[in-house]
């Protein structure tokens, strides 16, 4: 059975829906109330507490720590300043994505990597011959995402020893909550203003309580996976095993993707020197990738028309869907929309799609499959740039 995270004594009481999911073997609340709406709007209009402790966390420490991360990760970590965080994929020798996550530079010779899947064996194998100690610290760190426009104001009341106004996007700092030491990073998976707190498990509940106490007047609310899923699609953030399949999980070669194909080409630095997968990525760069990740915006009028044929109005609000649907160019299937949702804020039906490159022009017209009254229909759509929602406060 999935086991509790360090925040479970609080989340379990709040989770009135009793709807949990198994996230890497931990209990993760799908939603706390009957509907996830309030949790979603906490992310976008107040401040939401999201327990992200199930993330896998690794630390690399030693004289060769930089060489190690630069061997594994596709981005150039020599450009990562102390206290900076970089988001990046990492690949196998064939240049196919194994996983994606953040790499934080805690000290000159000390990095912390977050991952969606277990990666210790891979990291240790990649560290062969280097003077670096790579270890799994997943259970040593509780992680709490604190996301939303009010998150900074609340944190300012809770944290000391850090100037949050100066903590830049994708940077971290040591801080204290009362007497409790923790790390605060200006990161998140919502595309909003937000932070993530990295805490020793024994202090997790105390920090949670302090945030609730100081945040109540600001509309603080715990948010579950359903609200997070909508927010991350709006933010154009991909999810492993949903929007791409890790090379370690692929059952056939065609299921594997390069970083270029999952919208992470910007995070591949082919000039930084050798790293795992570089040769293959260099070749793909020159020959061109097969697939591209795009945003898909379904044309509302067309959607309405499909439903109107059955005397219905569009019934798409609610939970995000992870069931992939075909994307067509005329009658030809050119890709699939792997995550899709009605955006409560934008009032649009949006999704992340993987489309054959020659059909993936931004602004191009396409259509997507929609199921209306058990029948498969096509609704017009447009391929767009992500993120769909990108408030200035995200980076402010």
């Amino acid at each position: 059975m999935p086991i509790p995270t360090p925040f479970y004594p609080r989340t379990s009481v709040l989770c009135e829906s009793h709807e949990w999911r198994d996230w890497s073997g931990y209990l993760a609340a799908s939603l706390y109330e009957h509907l996830h709406d309030r949790e979603y709007y906490a992310i976008r209009n107040a401040a939401a507490l999201i327990d992200v402790s199930p993330l896998f966390k690794y630390e690399a420490r030693g004289p060769d720590a930089l060489r190690f991360v630069n061997r594994v990760i596709t981005r150039d970590l020599s450009r990562c300043a102390m206290g900076q965080v970089m988001y990046s994929p990492w690949c196998d020798d064939a240049g196919k994505v194994i996983d994606d996550g953040t790499v934080a530079r805690l000290a000159e010779d000390h990095f912390r990597i977050t991952a969606a899947d277990p990666n210790l064996a891979w990291f240790q194998d990649c560290a062969f011959g280097l003077d670096v100690d790579v270890r799994d610290v997943s259970s040593h760190l509780a992680a709490l995402a604190f996301q939303g426009p009010s998150s900074r104001q609340i944190l300012q009341r809770v944290l000391s020893g850090v100037d949050l106004e100066k903590l830049k996007y994708y940077h971290l700092a040591a801080a204290q909550a009362g007497a409790i030491p923790l790390t605060v990073s200006r990161t998140g998976y919502t595309g909003d203003l937000g932070y993530e707190l990295w805490i020793a498990p024994e202090y997790a509940i105390s920090v949670w309580d302090m945030l609730i106490e100081h945040g109540t007047g600001y509309g603080i609310a715990p948010a579950g996976m359903l609200a997070l899923d909508i927010a991350r699609i709006e933010a154009g953030l991909i999810m492993i095993q949903i929007d791409y399949i890790s090379t370690r999980h692929a059952l056939i070669p065609d299921q594997k993707s390069s970083p270029f194909e999952v919208g992470l080409g910007w995070a591949v630095d082919l000039d930084k020197g050798n790293f795992v997968g570089r040769k293959a990525l260099l070749a793909e760069k020159s020959s061109g990738s097969k697939w591209m990740l795009v945003g898909v915006e379904v044309d509302w009028t067309s959607l309405e028309a499909q439903y109107a044929r059955y005397n219905l109005t569009p019934r798409v609000a609610g939970r995000a869907s992870r069931a992939a649907v075909p994307i067509y160019k005329g009658s030809r299937q050119v890709g699939q929309m792997t995550s899709h949702t009605f955006s409560p804020l934008l009032k649009k039906y949006i999704g992340l799609g993987t489309v054959e490159r020659q059909y993936a022009g931004i602004g191009d017209r396409a259509s997507v499959e929609v199921t209306v009254e058990y029948t498969r229909q096509k609704a017009d759509a447009r391929l767009v740039k992500t993120p769909f929602y990108n408030p200035p406060r995200k980076r402010a």
Partner: protein, 525 residues
Amino acid sequence: MPSEYDAIVIGGGHNGLVTAAYLAKAGKKTLLLERRHILGGASVTEEIYPGFKFTIYSYVVSLFRPEIIRDLDLTRHGLMILPLESTLTPLPDGDYLYRGADHYETYRNIARFSQRDADIYEDYSRMMYFMAKAVKYVLGIVPPDPTSLNPAELNGLLGMARHFLGLERDQFYTLVRLMTMSSADFLSRWFESEPLLGTLSASGIIGTFMGPRSPGTAYVLLHHYMGEIDGVFRAWGFSKGGTGGIAEALASSARALGVEIRTQAPVAQVIVKDGRAVGVALESGEELHARVVVSSLDPNQTFLKLIDPGILPDEISASIRKFVYRGSSGKVNLALDAAPDLACLPGAGAHLRGAISISPSIDYIERAYDDAKYGNLPRHPYIDAIIPSMIDPGMAPPGKHVMSCFVQYAPYHLREGNWDEKREAFGDIVVNTLAEFIPNLKDIILHRQVLTPLDIERNTGLSEGNIFQGELSLSQLFFLRPAPGVAKYKTPVGNYYQCGSAVHPGGGITGAPGKLAAQVILKDW
């Protein structure tokens, strides 16, 4: 003289039943003859102690071909394979390794011994899936002989070559390693923690007289992994009613298809006229005639006892005589007054519904093999125990239990004494070994049945008590099983066929040899 039957199948083990059922399904008037009073061969359930049903010999299924279940409508005839989804390895220091259907629970359990092993475990499982997928093709074909220039054979070889060359490069290399390495060496490429290595390597030695460090055992590992495909992710299952339930379902289906089944009808010999089989003579003296005779027995009986070996070509007779059996396993079946209570995980729980594996390390198993190699009883045997009554409550009276303990090694050839003298000493070793991990065991035993390889041979007719009708080593597989020239279900005697585990793809409750034999027979018809 007109034949009374189209086909006579000798032996009512599961493969004999499968062949008979398929022949009848094709419209052939088929008679199946079984020596014992009960069908199933080594797939039998018997009530040795009143109220307690023992799955006497074989006890789990993973490889039974799903198409046989579909073709023969076995579900309607009572077949039900219940999930057996976990393996518990209790350790001498009181700790344990538990692996079950809950992916991350297994992950955390392995991580207690090695974080690396936990990380890589899923990669290993996926790799074995690829390997099983690659080899599955071979299990479903009549093995072509690579030395033959016959166009049909070459075509078969070409198909196989195409299949294997279609593998991803890494997968091909891994397959070659799997075919050549010992299970210990193969697994050590992945893992480092002893309880995991020990327990996984045990799959590589089941039914063989080889240790985890013997080359070739990695393939056996794969043989036991094959159940993972075909959309069935619970590799191992327990047949409702014990493995006798499989035999009963097959027999019921066979009868419904028109097979005539006679038990207590031991065959003395196959009647051969002008180089062709024309029927059988029973030990009773009765003669029965058929156009085709099929033996599901092992090669020792099929070639050397049921027919006059003198009519075989020398080369084949010699190969058959050199076919290796080397029974290596024994069985202890217990009737229990209450549930076993494990020291490492006291009380009830899911772990009692799975396998309990006494395999704390590779060294532990290898030492058991060392003892057996020289004809001694192992001081500390490898044991794979299950409690069938926890999975299927019908196996024992309410609140009581049966326990099935598969034991290795039990060498057929003892250095000193004989098995009739050593039987109970062997039983004591098994019970004492288990009692180290199950403190209440000795107090709850109501009845104990100890089966040595000699008993297995006497009761089932399996030579030297080899549960696979002959060692599953690479040298005795595919076009070499049971010998070159007789690996395609035929024999040098016309109309005389083989359909048991001694032909491709080998042992285990798969039904595959039986089905492939029926295909070949019907094609020749």
